[in-house]
Symmetry: C2
Subunit: 328 residues, 2 copies
Protein backbone atom coordinates (compact mmCIF):
# COMPACT_ATOMS: atom_id res chain seq x y z
CA UNK A 1 0.00 0.00 0.00
CA UNK A 2 1.14 3.57 -0.62
CA UNK A 3 1.19 5.90 2.38
CA UNK A 4 -2.17 7.43 3.28
CA UNK A 5 -1.41 11.09 2.57
CA UNK A 6 -2.19 11.83 -1.05
CA UNK A 7 -3.56 8.32 -1.70
CA UNK A 8 -6.88 8.53 0.12
CA UNK A 9 -8.60 7.36 -3.07
CA UNK A 10 -6.71 4.05 -2.96
CA UNK A 11 -7.75 3.53 0.66
CA UNK A 12 -11.36 4.42 -0.05
CA UNK A 13 -11.33 1.88 -2.87
CA UNK A 14 -10.15 -0.87 -0.49
CA UNK A 15 -13.01 -0.17 1.92
CA UNK A 16 -15.49 0.09 -0.92
CA UNK A 17 -14.49 -3.37 -2.15
CA UNK A 18 -14.63 -4.81 1.37
CA UNK A 19 -18.07 -3.27 1.85
CA UNK A 20 -19.30 -4.62 -1.48
CA UNK A 21 -18.21 -8.17 -0.67
CA UNK A 22 -19.28 -7.96 2.96
CA UNK A 23 -15.72 -8.48 4.22
CA UNK A 24 -15.52 -7.53 7.90
CA UNK A 25 -11.94 -8.42 8.51
CA UNK A 26 -8.82 -8.69 6.38
CA UNK A 27 -6.14 -11.12 7.54
CA UNK A 28 -2.78 -10.27 6.05
CA UNK A 29 -0.14 -13.01 6.27
CA UNK A 30 3.40 -11.83 5.63
CA UNK A 31 6.47 -10.04 6.89
CA UNK A 32 7.50 -6.43 7.40
CA UNK A 33 5.92 -4.92 4.29
CA UNK A 34 2.66 -6.74 4.97
CA UNK A 35 2.52 -5.59 8.61
CA UNK A 36 3.07 -2.01 7.45
CA UNK A 37 -0.01 -2.43 5.27
CA UNK A 38 -2.04 -3.73 8.22
CA UNK A 39 -0.96 -0.71 10.24
CA UNK A 40 -1.90 1.81 7.56
CA UNK A 41 -5.26 0.23 6.79
CA UNK A 42 -6.23 -0.03 10.46
CA UNK A 43 -5.05 3.55 11.07
CA UNK A 44 -7.17 4.73 8.16
CA UNK A 45 -10.19 2.80 9.45
CA UNK A 46 -9.78 4.36 12.93
CA UNK A 47 -9.38 7.86 11.52
CA UNK A 48 -12.38 7.58 9.22
CA UNK A 49 -14.82 5.68 11.44
CA UNK A 50 -14.71 2.49 9.36
CA UNK A 51 -15.84 -0.71 11.08
CA UNK A 52 -13.62 -3.11 9.11
CA UNK A 53 -10.87 -4.85 11.03
CA UNK A 54 -7.29 -5.67 9.99
CA UNK A 55 -5.24 -8.43 11.53
CA UNK A 56 -1.63 -9.33 10.81
CA UNK A 57 -0.59 -12.97 10.66
CA UNK A 58 3.19 -13.49 10.87
CA UNK A 59 4.65 -15.49 7.97
CA UNK A 60 8.18 -14.86 6.81
CA UNK A 61 11.16 -17.15 6.40
CA UNK A 62 13.26 -14.04 7.17
CA UNK A 63 12.14 -14.32 10.83
CA UNK A 64 12.68 -10.58 11.25
CA UNK A 65 9.39 -9.43 12.78
CA UNK A 66 9.77 -8.01 16.29
CA UNK A 67 7.86 -8.93 19.48
CA UNK A 68 7.01 -12.46 18.28
CA UNK A 69 9.47 -15.16 19.39
CA UNK A 70 9.80 -16.28 15.76
CA UNK A 71 7.83 -16.29 12.51
CA UNK A 72 6.09 -19.23 10.82
CA UNK A 73 8.11 -20.16 7.75
CA UNK A 74 11.45 -19.77 9.47
CA UNK A 75 11.56 -23.26 11.01
CA UNK A 76 10.98 -24.97 7.67
CA UNK A 77 13.48 -22.83 5.79
CA UNK A 78 16.02 -23.36 8.58
CA UNK A 79 15.44 -27.12 8.42
CA UNK A 80 16.03 -27.16 4.64
CA UNK A 81 19.16 -25.01 4.96
CA UNK A 82 20.68 -27.12 7.74
CA UNK A 83 19.79 -30.45 6.07
CA UNK A 84 21.21 -29.31 2.71
CA UNK A 85 24.37 -27.97 4.34
CA UNK A 86 24.99 -31.34 5.99
CA UNK A 87 24.85 -32.89 2.52
CA UNK A 88 27.09 -30.22 1.00
CA UNK A 89 29.63 -30.61 3.82
CA UNK A 90 29.70 -34.41 3.37
CA UNK A 91 30.04 -34.05 -0.40
CA UNK A 92 32.79 -31.47 -0.15
CA UNK A 93 34.80 -33.64 2.23
CA UNK A 94 34.55 -36.69 -0.04
CA UNK A 95 37.35 -35.53 -2.32
CA UNK A 96 39.92 -35.94 0.42
CA UNK A 97 43.21 -34.18 0.86
CA UNK A 98 44.23 -34.45 -2.80
CA UNK A 99 41.76 -31.87 -3.96
CA UNK A 100 41.12 -29.31 -1.21
CA UNK A 101 37.99 -27.31 -1.97
CA UNK A 102 36.63 -24.16 -0.43
CA UNK A 103 32.88 -24.08 -0.80
CA UNK A 104 31.00 -20.82 -0.23
CA UNK A 105 27.27 -21.22 0.36
CA UNK A 106 25.12 -18.14 -0.03
CA UNK A 107 21.94 -17.90 2.02
CA UNK A 108 19.03 -15.46 1.77
CA UNK A 109 18.49 -12.53 4.12
CA UNK A 110 18.90 -8.96 3.01
CA UNK A 111 19.49 -7.35 6.40
CA UNK A 112 18.72 -9.93 9.06
CA UNK A 113 20.93 -13.00 9.36
CA UNK A 114 18.35 -15.47 10.69
CA UNK A 115 18.39 -17.76 7.66
CA UNK A 116 22.17 -17.77 7.49
CA UNK A 117 22.34 -18.42 11.22
CA UNK A 118 20.46 -21.69 10.59
CA UNK A 119 23.71 -22.99 9.09
CA UNK A 120 24.82 -23.45 12.71
CA UNK A 121 22.21 -26.21 13.11
CA UNK A 122 24.10 -28.50 10.70
CA UNK A 123 26.75 -29.23 13.28
CA UNK A 124 26.34 -32.42 15.28
CA UNK A 125 28.14 -35.64 16.09
CA UNK A 126 27.59 -36.79 12.50
CA UNK A 127 28.66 -33.50 10.88
CA UNK A 128 31.47 -31.10 11.67
CA UNK A 129 29.34 -28.16 10.57
CA UNK A 130 30.36 -25.06 8.67
CA UNK A 131 33.84 -23.67 9.21
CA UNK A 132 32.56 -20.12 9.40
CA UNK A 133 29.21 -18.34 9.22
CA UNK A 134 29.03 -14.68 8.23
CA UNK A 135 25.87 -12.73 9.07
CA UNK A 136 24.86 -9.30 7.72
CA UNK A 137 24.65 -8.04 11.33
CA UNK A 138 28.46 -7.74 11.34
CA UNK A 139 30.60 -5.61 9.01
CA UNK A 140 32.25 -7.88 6.46
CA UNK A 141 35.99 -7.36 5.97
CA UNK A 142 37.11 -8.98 2.70
CA UNK A 143 40.81 -8.99 3.59
CA UNK A 144 40.10 -10.55 6.98
CA UNK A 145 37.81 -13.08 5.27
CA UNK A 146 40.56 -14.06 2.80
CA UNK A 147 43.03 -14.43 5.67
CA UNK A 148 40.51 -16.61 7.56
CA UNK A 149 40.03 -18.83 4.51
CA UNK A 150 43.78 -19.23 4.02
CA UNK A 151 44.16 -20.22 7.65
CA UNK A 152 41.34 -22.77 7.41
CA UNK A 153 42.64 -24.22 4.13
CA UNK A 154 46.08 -24.66 5.68
CA UNK A 155 44.53 -26.84 8.39
CA UNK A 156 41.89 -28.87 6.56
CA UNK A 157 41.21 -29.96 3.00
CA UNK A 158 37.49 -29.35 3.01
CA UNK A 159 36.28 -25.89 3.93
CA UNK A 160 32.59 -24.95 3.83
CA UNK A 161 31.57 -21.40 4.66
CA UNK A 162 28.04 -19.99 4.93
CA UNK A 163 27.56 -16.37 4.04
CA UNK A 164 24.51 -14.15 3.93
CA UNK A 165 23.61 -12.59 0.57
CA UNK A 166 23.38 -9.33 2.49
CA UNK A 167 26.87 -9.01 3.96
CA UNK A 168 28.25 -5.48 3.63
CA UNK A 169 31.71 -3.96 3.82
CA UNK A 170 32.54 -1.04 6.12
CA UNK A 171 31.52 1.66 3.63
CA UNK A 172 28.01 0.17 3.44
CA UNK A 173 28.27 -1.49 0.03
CA UNK A 174 26.95 -5.03 -0.32
CA UNK A 175 29.79 -7.47 -1.10
CA UNK A 176 27.96 -8.56 -4.25
CA UNK A 177 27.83 -4.95 -5.45
CA UNK A 178 31.56 -4.62 -5.53
CA UNK A 179 32.63 -4.67 -9.13
CA UNK A 180 29.21 -5.20 -10.69
CA UNK A 181 25.80 -3.64 -11.02
CA UNK A 182 22.87 -4.86 -8.95
CA UNK A 183 19.25 -4.90 -10.10
CA UNK A 184 16.45 -3.34 -8.01
CA UNK A 185 13.11 -5.09 -7.43
CA UNK A 186 9.57 -3.65 -7.40
CA UNK A 187 9.88 -2.59 -3.72
CA UNK A 188 13.11 -0.72 -4.53
CA UNK A 189 15.14 -3.39 -2.70
CA UNK A 190 18.43 -4.26 -4.33
CA UNK A 191 18.32 -7.76 -5.78
CA UNK A 192 21.00 -9.71 -4.01
CA UNK A 193 22.90 -12.66 -5.46
CA UNK A 194 26.37 -13.31 -6.58
CA UNK A 195 27.95 -12.81 -3.14
CA UNK A 196 29.21 -16.41 -3.02
CA UNK A 197 30.45 -16.27 -6.61
CA UNK A 198 32.28 -13.02 -5.98
CA UNK A 199 33.95 -14.40 -2.84
CA UNK A 200 34.80 -17.76 -4.43
CA UNK A 201 36.39 -15.98 -7.39
CA UNK A 202 38.42 -13.77 -5.04
CA UNK A 203 39.65 -16.79 -3.06
CA UNK A 204 40.61 -18.64 -6.24
CA UNK A 205 42.44 -15.60 -7.61
CA UNK A 206 44.36 -14.89 -4.41
CA UNK A 207 45.11 -18.42 -3.17
CA UNK A 208 44.87 -20.70 -6.21
CA UNK A 209 42.59 -22.97 -4.18
CA UNK A 210 39.76 -24.81 -5.87
CA UNK A 211 36.52 -23.05 -4.96
CA UNK A 212 32.83 -23.57 -5.46
CA UNK A 213 29.93 -21.16 -5.00
CA UNK A 214 26.49 -22.51 -4.11
CA UNK A 215 23.23 -20.58 -3.75
CA UNK A 216 20.11 -22.14 -2.26
CA UNK A 217 18.12 -19.60 -4.24
CA UNK A 218 14.33 -20.03 -4.14
CA UNK A 219 14.52 -23.60 -2.82
CA UNK A 220 15.12 -22.30 0.71
CA UNK A 221 11.63 -20.83 0.71
CA UNK A 222 10.00 -23.42 -1.59
CA UNK A 223 11.31 -26.82 -0.48
CA UNK A 224 8.18 -27.94 1.31
CA UNK A 225 9.34 -31.55 1.25
CA UNK A 226 11.70 -30.62 4.11
CA UNK A 227 9.17 -28.65 6.15
CA UNK A 228 9.25 -28.63 9.95
CA UNK A 229 6.12 -30.08 11.52
CA UNK A 230 6.48 -27.64 14.44
CA UNK A 231 6.48 -24.82 11.91
CA UNK A 232 3.44 -26.13 10.06
CA UNK A 233 1.48 -26.52 13.29
CA UNK A 234 2.37 -23.00 14.41
CA UNK A 235 1.34 -21.57 11.04
CA UNK A 236 -2.13 -23.02 11.65
CA UNK A 237 -2.02 -21.79 15.25
CA UNK A 238 -1.38 -18.11 14.38
CA UNK A 239 -3.96 -18.20 11.59
CA UNK A 240 -6.57 -19.69 13.91
CA UNK A 241 -5.80 -17.24 16.70
CA UNK A 242 -5.97 -14.27 14.32
CA UNK A 243 -9.52 -15.30 13.42
CA UNK A 244 -10.40 -15.70 17.12
CA UNK A 245 -8.99 -12.25 17.90
CA UNK A 246 -10.92 -10.66 15.05
CA UNK A 247 -14.09 -12.38 16.27
CA UNK A 248 -13.52 -10.65 19.61
CA UNK A 249 -13.44 -7.33 17.73
CA UNK A 250 -9.70 -6.77 17.72
CA UNK A 251 -8.07 -4.82 14.89
CA UNK A 252 -4.69 -3.29 14.08
CA UNK A 253 -2.87 -6.16 15.72
CA UNK A 254 -0.58 -9.01 14.81
CA UNK A 255 -0.60 -12.44 16.40
CA UNK A 256 2.71 -13.17 18.11
CA UNK A 257 4.20 -16.50 19.14
CA UNK A 258 5.23 -16.39 22.81
CA UNK A 259 7.63 -19.08 23.95
CA UNK A 260 6.65 -20.61 27.28
CA UNK A 261 9.52 -23.00 27.61
CA UNK A 262 12.20 -25.02 25.84
CA UNK A 263 11.89 -28.35 27.63
CA UNK A 264 9.29 -29.22 26.57
CA UNK A 265 9.19 -26.54 23.90
CA UNK A 266 5.86 -24.76 23.84
CA UNK A 267 4.45 -21.56 22.36
CA UNK A 268 1.29 -19.67 23.11
CA UNK A 269 0.06 -16.63 21.20
CA UNK A 270 -0.99 -13.04 21.87
CA UNK A 271 -2.51 -10.29 19.80
CA UNK A 272 -0.11 -7.34 19.82
CA UNK A 273 -0.41 -3.71 18.70
CA UNK A 274 0.72 -3.49 15.07
CA UNK A 275 2.34 -0.07 15.72
CA UNK A 276 5.07 -1.75 17.76
CA UNK A 277 5.69 -4.21 14.95
CA UNK A 278 5.36 -2.49 11.56
CA UNK A 279 8.62 -1.19 10.16
CA UNK A 280 10.72 -2.66 12.94
CA UNK A 281 13.24 -5.19 11.64
CA UNK A 282 14.55 -7.62 14.21
CA UNK A 283 18.13 -8.74 13.73
CA UNK A 284 20.00 -11.67 15.23
CA UNK A 285 20.94 -10.40 18.72
CA UNK A 286 24.57 -9.52 19.12
CA UNK A 287 24.94 -11.87 22.11
CA UNK A 288 24.07 -14.83 19.87
CA UNK A 289 26.96 -14.10 17.50
CA UNK A 290 30.33 -15.46 18.66
CA UNK A 291 33.00 -12.95 19.65
CA UNK A 292 35.02 -13.59 16.47
CA UNK A 293 31.93 -12.73 14.39
CA UNK A 294 32.10 -16.00 12.46
CA UNK A 295 29.62 -18.22 14.24
CA UNK A 296 26.57 -18.59 16.44
CA UNK A 297 26.47 -19.30 20.15
CA UNK A 298 24.80 -22.26 21.85
CA UNK A 299 22.00 -19.90 22.90
CA UNK A 300 21.08 -19.43 19.24
CA UNK A 301 21.03 -23.20 18.71
CA UNK A 302 18.86 -23.60 21.82
CA UNK A 303 16.47 -21.01 20.35
CA UNK A 304 16.35 -22.43 16.84
CA UNK A 305 16.53 -26.21 17.33
CA UNK A 306 12.91 -26.65 18.54
CA UNK A 307 11.69 -24.75 15.48
CA UNK A 308 13.02 -27.38 13.03
CA UNK A 309 11.75 -30.41 14.94
CA UNK A 310 9.27 -32.84 13.46
CA UNK A 311 8.56 -33.89 9.91
CA UNK A 312 5.55 -34.05 7.69
CA UNK A 313 6.54 -36.85 5.33
CA UNK A 314 5.10 -35.77 1.97
CA UNK A 315 2.65 -37.97 0.13
CA UNK A 316 4.66 -39.39 -2.77
CA UNK A 317 2.87 -40.00 -6.06
CA UNK A 318 4.79 -41.27 -9.09
CA UNK A 319 8.00 -41.01 -7.09
CA UNK A 320 7.61 -37.32 -6.23
CA UNK A 321 6.07 -35.27 -3.42
CA UNK A 322 2.48 -34.47 -4.30
CA UNK A 323 1.54 -30.78 -4.43
CA UNK A 324 -1.86 -29.25 -3.85
CA UNK A 325 -3.76 -28.71 -7.07
CA UNK A 326 -5.45 -25.35 -7.56
CA UNK A 327 -9.06 -25.68 -8.53
CA UNK A 328 -9.74 -23.70 -11.71
CA UNK B 1 45.34 -44.72 -13.89
CA UNK B 2 47.80 -43.60 -16.56
CA UNK B 3 47.92 -45.69 -19.75
CA UNK B 4 50.03 -48.83 -19.51
CA UNK B 5 52.77 -47.96 -22.00
CA UNK B 6 55.55 -46.11 -20.20
CA UNK B 7 53.88 -46.52 -16.77
CA UNK B 8 54.52 -50.22 -16.15
CA UNK B 9 56.07 -49.29 -12.79
CA UNK B 10 52.76 -47.82 -11.60
CA UNK B 11 50.94 -51.00 -12.60
CA UNK B 12 53.52 -53.25 -10.96
CA UNK B 13 53.12 -51.22 -7.78
CA UNK B 14 49.35 -51.82 -7.78
CA UNK B 15 49.84 -55.57 -8.04
CA UNK B 16 52.58 -55.51 -5.43
CA UNK B 17 50.24 -53.79 -2.98
CA UNK B 18 47.41 -56.20 -3.76
CA UNK B 19 49.80 -59.14 -3.27
CA UNK B 20 51.06 -57.73 0.01
CA UNK B 21 47.54 -57.32 1.43
CA UNK B 22 46.27 -60.56 -0.08
CA UNK B 23 43.71 -58.78 -2.23
CA UNK B 24 42.41 -61.15 -4.90
CA UNK B 25 39.89 -58.88 -6.47
CA UNK B 26 39.44 -55.14 -6.81
CA UNK B 27 35.90 -53.83 -7.17
CA UNK B 28 35.82 -50.40 -8.70
CA UNK B 29 32.56 -48.49 -8.35
CA UNK B 30 32.23 -45.52 -10.63
CA UNK B 31 31.56 -44.17 -14.10
CA UNK B 32 33.50 -43.88 -17.34
CA UNK B 33 36.91 -43.01 -15.90
CA UNK B 34 36.64 -45.81 -13.34
CA UNK B 35 35.66 -48.42 -15.95
CA UNK B 36 38.66 -47.39 -18.05
CA UNK B 37 40.83 -48.16 -15.02
CA UNK B 38 39.20 -51.61 -14.63
CA UNK B 39 39.91 -52.29 -18.31
CA UNK B 40 43.57 -51.28 -18.10
CA UNK B 41 44.25 -53.17 -14.88
CA UNK B 42 42.57 -56.35 -16.14
CA UNK B 43 44.38 -56.04 -19.50
CA UNK B 44 47.68 -55.68 -17.66
CA UNK B 45 46.90 -58.72 -15.46
CA UNK B 46 46.05 -60.82 -18.53
CA UNK B 47 49.19 -59.74 -20.39
CA UNK B 48 51.49 -60.39 -17.44
CA UNK B 49 49.98 -63.59 -16.05
CA UNK B 50 48.67 -61.99 -12.88
CA UNK B 51 45.91 -63.81 -11.03
CA UNK B 52 44.22 -60.76 -9.52
CA UNK B 53 40.74 -59.94 -10.78
CA UNK B 54 39.13 -56.57 -11.52
CA UNK B 55 35.41 -55.96 -11.54
CA UNK B 56 33.55 -52.81 -12.44
CA UNK B 57 30.50 -51.78 -10.43
CA UNK B 58 28.38 -49.10 -12.15
CA UNK B 59 27.76 -45.99 -10.05
CA UNK B 60 27.30 -42.62 -11.68
CA UNK B 61 24.54 -40.05 -11.47
CA UNK B 62 25.54 -39.15 -15.06
CA UNK B 63 23.92 -42.43 -16.23
CA UNK B 64 26.22 -42.46 -19.25
CA UNK B 65 27.69 -45.99 -19.13
CA UNK B 66 26.74 -48.13 -22.12
CA UNK B 67 25.23 -51.64 -22.19
CA UNK B 68 23.62 -51.32 -18.74
CA UNK B 69 20.00 -50.13 -18.76
CA UNK B 70 20.93 -47.42 -16.30
CA UNK B 71 23.44 -46.67 -13.54
CA UNK B 72 22.92 -46.69 -9.78
CA UNK B 73 22.94 -43.09 -8.58
CA UNK B 74 20.88 -41.80 -11.47
CA UNK B 75 17.49 -42.61 -9.99
CA UNK B 76 18.19 -40.71 -6.77
CA UNK B 77 19.67 -37.68 -8.54
CA UNK B 78 16.73 -37.68 -10.96
CA UNK B 79 14.29 -37.82 -8.04
CA UNK B 80 15.97 -34.85 -6.33
CA UNK B 81 16.03 -32.84 -9.58
CA UNK B 82 12.38 -33.51 -10.40
CA UNK B 83 11.18 -32.90 -6.82
CA UNK B 84 13.14 -29.64 -6.56
CA UNK B 85 11.93 -28.46 -9.96
CA UNK B 86 8.32 -28.96 -8.88
CA UNK B 87 9.03 -26.67 -5.93
CA UNK B 88 10.82 -24.10 -8.09
CA UNK B 89 7.97 -24.12 -10.63
CA UNK B 90 5.38 -23.60 -7.89
CA UNK B 91 7.45 -20.83 -6.31
CA UNK B 92 8.03 -19.07 -9.62
CA UNK B 93 4.31 -19.12 -10.45
CA UNK B 94 3.34 -17.64 -7.07
CA UNK B 95 4.18 -14.09 -8.12
CA UNK B 96 1.34 -14.03 -10.62
CA UNK B 97 0.96 -12.00 -13.75
CA UNK B 98 2.21 -8.75 -12.18
CA UNK B 99 5.79 -9.88 -12.05
CA UNK B 100 6.56 -12.34 -14.88
CA UNK B 101 9.77 -14.18 -14.18
CA UNK B 102 11.91 -16.37 -16.40
CA UNK B 103 13.79 -18.88 -14.29
CA UNK B 104 16.71 -20.79 -15.83
CA UNK B 105 17.71 -23.91 -13.92
CA UNK B 106 21.13 -25.36 -14.69
CA UNK B 107 21.60 -29.10 -14.27
CA UNK B 108 24.80 -31.19 -14.27
CA UNK B 109 25.96 -33.30 -17.22
CA UNK B 110 28.99 -32.39 -19.25
CA UNK B 111 28.16 -34.32 -22.43
CA UNK B 112 25.22 -36.58 -21.68
CA UNK B 113 21.85 -35.02 -20.90
CA UNK B 114 20.44 -37.70 -18.60
CA UNK B 115 20.31 -35.54 -15.48
CA UNK B 116 18.77 -32.63 -17.34
CA UNK B 117 16.27 -35.00 -18.94
CA UNK B 118 15.01 -35.82 -15.44
CA UNK B 119 13.43 -32.35 -15.46
CA UNK B 120 10.73 -33.96 -17.62
CA UNK B 121 9.61 -36.03 -14.62
CA UNK B 122 8.37 -32.92 -12.79
CA UNK B 123 5.33 -32.68 -15.04
CA UNK B 124 2.11 -34.21 -13.74
CA UNK B 125 -1.47 -33.29 -12.94
CA UNK B 126 -0.22 -31.22 -9.97
CA UNK B 127 2.59 -29.47 -11.90
CA UNK B 128 2.73 -28.03 -15.38
CA UNK B 129 6.40 -28.99 -15.67
CA UNK B 130 9.23 -27.08 -17.30
CA UNK B 131 8.46 -24.93 -20.33
CA UNK B 132 11.54 -26.16 -22.17
CA UNK B 133 14.41 -28.58 -21.52
CA UNK B 134 17.69 -28.20 -23.38
CA UNK B 135 20.06 -31.18 -23.50
CA UNK B 136 23.72 -31.15 -24.58
CA UNK B 137 22.88 -33.80 -27.21
CA UNK B 138 21.44 -31.01 -29.39
CA UNK B 139 23.29 -27.97 -30.72
CA UNK B 140 22.22 -24.92 -28.71
CA UNK B 141 21.25 -21.87 -30.73
CA UNK B 142 21.27 -18.77 -28.52
CA UNK B 143 19.20 -16.65 -30.91
CA UNK B 144 16.61 -19.39 -31.26
CA UNK B 145 16.61 -19.79 -27.47
CA UNK B 146 15.98 -16.07 -26.94
CA UNK B 147 13.15 -16.17 -29.49
CA UNK B 148 11.65 -19.21 -27.70
CA UNK B 149 11.80 -17.41 -24.34
CA UNK B 150 10.13 -14.29 -25.76
CA UNK B 151 7.35 -16.43 -27.21
CA UNK B 152 6.83 -18.22 -23.89
CA UNK B 153 6.90 -15.00 -21.86
CA UNK B 154 4.28 -13.50 -24.17
CA UNK B 155 1.93 -16.37 -23.33
CA UNK B 156 2.51 -17.01 -19.61
CA UNK B 157 3.84 -15.05 -16.67
CA UNK B 158 5.93 -17.83 -15.13
CA UNK B 159 8.52 -19.48 -17.33
CA UNK B 160 10.86 -22.17 -16.00
CA UNK B 161 13.50 -23.64 -18.28
CA UNK B 162 15.91 -26.48 -17.54
CA UNK B 163 19.25 -26.39 -19.27
CA UNK B 164 22.27 -28.66 -19.13
CA UNK B 165 25.54 -27.12 -17.94
CA UNK B 166 27.06 -28.74 -21.05
CA UNK B 167 25.01 -27.16 -23.84
CA UNK B 168 27.18 -26.08 -26.78
CA UNK B 169 26.72 -23.72 -29.69
CA UNK B 170 27.31 -24.79 -33.30
CA UNK B 171 31.04 -23.99 -33.29
CA UNK B 172 31.56 -26.38 -30.35
CA UNK B 173 32.00 -23.81 -27.60
CA UNK B 174 30.14 -24.38 -24.34
CA UNK B 175 27.53 -21.68 -23.75
CA UNK B 176 29.15 -20.85 -20.42
CA UNK B 177 32.50 -20.29 -22.15
CA UNK B 178 31.15 -17.50 -24.28
CA UNK B 179 32.53 -14.28 -22.93
CA UNK B 180 34.41 -15.72 -19.97
CA UNK B 181 37.22 -18.07 -19.10
CA UNK B 182 36.54 -21.59 -17.83
CA UNK B 183 38.68 -23.48 -15.32
CA UNK B 184 39.92 -27.01 -16.04
CA UNK B 185 39.80 -29.80 -13.43
CA UNK B 186 42.36 -32.52 -12.59
CA UNK B 187 41.09 -34.80 -15.40
CA UNK B 188 41.48 -31.95 -17.92
CA UNK B 189 37.69 -31.58 -18.10
CA UNK B 190 36.46 -28.03 -18.36
CA UNK B 191 34.70 -26.94 -15.18
CA UNK B 192 31.20 -26.07 -16.19
CA UNK B 193 28.93 -23.59 -14.42
CA UNK B 194 27.55 -20.24 -15.17
CA UNK B 195 25.43 -21.42 -18.13
CA UNK B 196 22.19 -20.41 -16.42
CA UNK B 197 23.61 -17.09 -15.26
CA UNK B 198 24.90 -16.30 -18.73
CA UNK B 199 21.52 -17.12 -20.33
CA UNK B 200 19.51 -15.29 -17.65
CA UNK B 201 21.67 -12.19 -18.14
CA UNK B 202 21.19 -12.36 -21.92
CA UNK B 203 17.41 -12.67 -21.55
CA UNK B 204 17.28 -9.73 -19.13
CA UNK B 205 19.43 -7.60 -21.42
CA UNK B 206 17.45 -8.38 -24.57
CA UNK B 207 13.90 -8.50 -23.24
CA UNK B 208 13.88 -6.53 -19.99
CA UNK B 209 12.15 -9.49 -18.33
CA UNK B 210 12.89 -10.35 -14.72
CA UNK B 211 15.12 -13.42 -14.70
CA UNK B 212 16.60 -15.78 -12.17
CA UNK B 213 19.40 -18.34 -12.53
CA UNK B 214 19.42 -21.43 -10.30
CA UNK B 215 22.07 -24.16 -10.11
CA UNK B 216 21.48 -27.39 -8.20
CA UNK B 217 25.24 -27.63 -7.83
CA UNK B 218 26.51 -30.48 -5.65
CA UNK B 219 23.11 -31.08 -4.04
CA UNK B 220 21.97 -33.07 -7.08
CA UNK B 221 24.57 -35.69 -6.24
CA UNK B 222 24.57 -35.25 -2.46
CA UNK B 223 20.92 -34.87 -1.42
CA UNK B 224 20.51 -38.35 0.03
CA UNK B 225 17.38 -37.31 1.89
CA UNK B 226 15.56 -37.53 -1.47
CA UNK B 227 17.05 -40.86 -2.55
CA UNK B 228 15.07 -43.37 -4.61
CA UNK B 229 14.53 -46.67 -2.83
CA UNK B 230 14.66 -48.49 -6.18
CA UNK B 231 18.05 -46.90 -6.78
CA UNK B 232 19.36 -47.84 -3.33
CA UNK B 233 18.24 -51.44 -3.75
CA UNK B 234 19.87 -51.69 -7.17
CA UNK B 235 23.13 -50.24 -5.84
CA UNK B 236 23.25 -53.15 -3.37
CA UNK B 237 22.23 -55.55 -6.15
CA UNK B 238 25.11 -54.65 -8.52
CA UNK B 239 27.61 -54.68 -5.65
CA UNK B 240 26.42 -58.09 -4.51
CA UNK B 241 26.45 -59.51 -8.02
CA UNK B 242 29.95 -58.16 -8.69
CA UNK B 243 31.20 -60.13 -5.68
CA UNK B 244 29.37 -63.25 -6.90
CA UNK B 245 30.90 -62.90 -10.38
CA UNK B 246 34.38 -62.45 -8.94
CA UNK B 247 33.84 -65.53 -6.76
CA UNK B 248 33.15 -67.43 -9.98
CA UNK B 249 36.54 -66.27 -11.28
CA UNK B 250 35.32 -63.52 -13.59
CA UNK B 251 37.54 -60.49 -14.27
CA UNK B 252 37.62 -57.52 -16.65
CA UNK B 253 33.87 -57.16 -16.50
CA UNK B 254 31.24 -54.74 -15.28
CA UNK B 255 27.90 -55.67 -13.80
CA UNK B 256 25.06 -54.36 -15.94
CA UNK B 257 21.43 -53.81 -14.99
CA UNK B 258 19.15 -55.52 -17.53
CA UNK B 259 15.53 -54.42 -17.55
CA UNK B 260 13.12 -57.31 -17.77
CA UNK B 261 9.93 -55.32 -17.82
CA UNK B 262 8.19 -52.06 -16.92
CA UNK B 263 4.95 -53.37 -15.44
CA UNK B 264 6.00 -54.53 -12.97
CA UNK B 265 9.41 -52.91 -13.33
CA UNK B 266 12.17 -55.43 -12.75
CA UNK B 267 15.90 -55.58 -13.41
CA UNK B 268 18.28 -58.51 -13.44
CA UNK B 269 22.04 -58.25 -13.85
CA UNK B 270 24.80 -59.64 -16.08
CA UNK B 271 28.57 -59.46 -16.04
CA UNK B 272 29.67 -57.83 -19.29
CA UNK B 273 33.06 -57.45 -21.01
CA UNK B 274 34.62 -54.19 -19.83
CA UNK B 275 36.09 -53.55 -23.31
CA UNK B 276 32.63 -52.86 -24.67
CA UNK B 277 32.00 -50.41 -21.85
CA UNK B 278 35.18 -48.46 -21.06
CA UNK B 279 35.47 -45.14 -22.89
CA UNK B 280 32.02 -45.41 -24.45
CA UNK B 281 29.75 -42.57 -23.38
CA UNK B 282 26.04 -43.22 -23.77
CA UNK B 283 23.93 -40.21 -24.62
CA UNK B 284 20.19 -39.72 -24.40
CA UNK B 285 18.91 -41.41 -27.58
CA UNK B 286 17.77 -39.06 -30.29
CA UNK B 287 14.34 -40.68 -30.46
CA UNK B 288 13.69 -39.70 -26.82
CA UNK B 289 14.21 -36.01 -27.57
CA UNK B 290 11.16 -34.26 -29.00
CA UNK B 291 11.32 -33.05 -32.62
CA UNK B 292 11.63 -29.40 -31.55
CA UNK B 293 14.70 -30.31 -29.44
CA UNK B 294 13.19 -28.74 -26.31
CA UNK B 295 11.71 -31.69 -24.46
CA UNK B 296 11.62 -35.41 -23.78
CA UNK B 297 9.19 -37.95 -25.21
CA UNK B 298 6.85 -40.21 -23.23
CA UNK B 299 9.28 -43.07 -23.92
CA UNK B 300 11.93 -41.30 -21.83
CA UNK B 301 9.44 -40.82 -18.99
CA UNK B 302 8.45 -44.50 -19.23
CA UNK B 303 12.17 -45.39 -18.97
CA UNK B 304 12.99 -43.04 -16.09
CA UNK B 305 9.86 -43.07 -13.91
CA UNK B 306 10.48 -46.53 -12.37
CA UNK B 307 14.00 -45.46 -11.40
CA UNK B 308 12.75 -42.71 -9.04
CA UNK B 309 10.07 -44.82 -7.34
CA UNK B 310 10.14 -45.56 -3.64
CA UNK B 311 11.49 -43.62 -0.68
CA UNK B 312 13.84 -44.32 2.16
CA UNK B 313 12.58 -41.88 4.74
CA UNK B 314 15.73 -40.72 6.54
CA UNK B 315 16.12 -41.19 10.26
CA UNK B 316 15.72 -37.70 11.70
CA UNK B 317 17.76 -36.78 14.77
CA UNK B 318 17.56 -33.26 16.23
CA UNK B 319 15.32 -32.26 13.34
CA UNK B 320 17.76 -33.28 10.59
CA UNK B 321 18.49 -36.40 8.51
CA UNK B 322 21.08 -38.48 10.31
CA UNK B 323 24.28 -39.25 8.38
CA UNK B 324 26.57 -42.21 8.80
CA UNK B 325 29.46 -41.47 11.12
CA UNK B 326 32.91 -42.54 10.00
CA UNK B 327 34.72 -44.51 12.62
CA UNK B 328 38.10 -42.95 13.30
Amino acid sequence: MPKIEGHEDVYEKVFEIMEKHDIECLFYAGGNDSMDTVKMLSDYAAAHGKSQRFMGVPKTIDNDLPVTDHCPGYGSAAKYIAASLKEIIRDNASFGAKKPTVCIVEIMGRNAGWLTAAAALAKGDDCEGCDAIYLPEKVFDIDKFLADVKELAAKKSSVVIAVSEGVKVADGRYVCEIGREVAVDAFGHKQMSGTATMLADRIAAETGLKTRAIEFSTLQRAATHMASLTDINEAFQVGHDAVMAAEEGKTGMMITLDRNGDDPYQCGTSAYDIHAIANVERNVPDEWITADGKGLTDDYVKYARPLIMGELQPLFVNGLPRHLVRKA
